[in-house]
Symmetry: D2
């Protein structure tokens, strides 16, 4: 059974539902590392990158929250707490809102909407083999680009400054 | 730190943010009982009934998920996993969607919207000192009315038939 | 083509998607009367009461906005401006948010969620052959119950006090 | 008063709330042109690009629908049908869902989320002085980039193939 003790940070991982094996491996390792660092993983709860981060969290006996667009039957096999939102694509906002930082892996269209929401929220956003979005003035986002899962997790966690958004336990 | 093992059922508790002491006590006991029965509590994450069920879950070292209308600062002191949805009142649907059964306590207007969503979803809905909604033909909802927290939790859990919506762990 | 001139008030009509012929006739007349009084009708855009109010508005050459749970193919034949929200049942909140007053017809479960949202918003809410929701203290909602379409429309429009929420044109 | 006759197409315009004078002028002209071509404009209903397209539509006596994150007081002075959604940033999805095609102007973070939703929906998406989003394989989106308002409107309208999503009237 799930139970609670210490404070835990939620980190959101966004990414494509049809990941290549390289992308899947990156996401799997990010899931593992986040749990080892004491985090809960939030994601969209489906396949590809979402399955991989949930699986990584599962292998480390951690918790993943999956915000599903529709019903519970959409959940991948590893998500610990599936939330069947019924909100369709609007659930992308929830994935981003849930976390204290956001890691983006891969280049799906839905992921791009989540990158936009993460930037808008002002939360730390780290990219790993993901979109480069260039504005009219030539600025590139995400501003933090990691070259491997370890760096992505380190960048995300070290960018979380305050403590008021900690999960309480 | 939160960690996962066995399968756990999420039960949603809906109710007023400005509870009388009687209503607060009912909700507190429902929170305790749900955790003792191995459940995770989902609610709106704020005050009144929401605080009471989170507090009850907390006292039993269980987990509560609070779907907040706005930011994380709205969370009560006992919620384990606060989700700052930013969706305003639309988060009421999430509270209902998250659970495998729904227990309604008290008579706030927002609670009435959640009763409507619970009935629409077809999930087991148990009332405890809550709204009575009468349709044109004289049918009364919630159809299951409990007289105490023990009965409310028993009614809710015994009405959950299948196992496919179990939280995986 | 649609074009704009004077200020117009949006009134929301909520109700069942599987209306009896009596309920359908009430909603049809409410749609006609609202347009004759210079209003735009907002509703859920589907069948039953929603179709009837759109049809009434259409017959009077008025405008109806239909907030659909899914895609545009769900729209009834009479809705002027169909909005395919993709938000599922959460679109119920939009139907209520759009209007300056709300008229409830019939007793579907979704309608009950909308009654809850309308009460929460503090907007004028008029019932016509609809739910009676009774709180713990015995108060009955909607507080305004009309006996015919004419009375429902009159109650709704006379309860709209301010002018700042007028549709601009 | 607004009234309805022929079929009309809704086109969504997405863009920054703090537009430079150059960007504002582009959006103003897009609003004018869309109405001259018989379209209704959908947007986020606030300032900057949103105000400019509503103003352009207003000058041509057309209709604009503004999906506001919060209440009606957020609407710009030119929006014809303001919809106070209360959904916060999730209303970005509605702006995209409402239209048969999408035109993006400027480079706000919220706009990037809307570009993601538009791409995900498969609707025609035209960029005008906006984000360039590059995926892992080097593909650039939006695929259609216009150099002036006339070209943007022409690209958008000529890319709308079917007729089943026409606004009925």
């Amino acid at each position: 059974m799930l139970n609670s003790s210490d404070a835990t940070i939620i980190v959101s991982v966004i990414g494509t539902s049809t990941a290549s094996s390289e992308i899947y491996a990156l996401a799997l390792e990010v899931g593992r590392l986040l749990v080892r660092r004491g985090c809960i993983v939030a994601c969209g709860g489906r396949g590809g990158v979402m399955e991989a981060v949930c699986r990584g969290a599962f292998e480390e006996e951690g918790i993943s929250i999956g915000f599903l667009p529709g019903g519970i039957e959409e959940a991948n096999s590893y998500v610990t707490i599936p939330i069947p939102t019924g909100l369709g694509e609007a659930r992308n906002l929830l994935v981003v809102s849930a976390g204290k930082a956001v890691i983006s892996i891969g280049s799906a269209f839905g992921t791009l909407s989540e990158i936009g929401f993460a930037l808008k929220s002002g939360k730390p956003l780290v990219g790993l083999a993901t979109w480069k979005a260039i504005d009219e003035e030539g600025n590139i986002f995400p501003a933090m680009m990691a070259s491997c899962p370890e760096e992505a997790v380190e960048m995300a966690l070290s960018s979380i400054s305050g403590g008021n958004d900690l999960v309480k336990g």
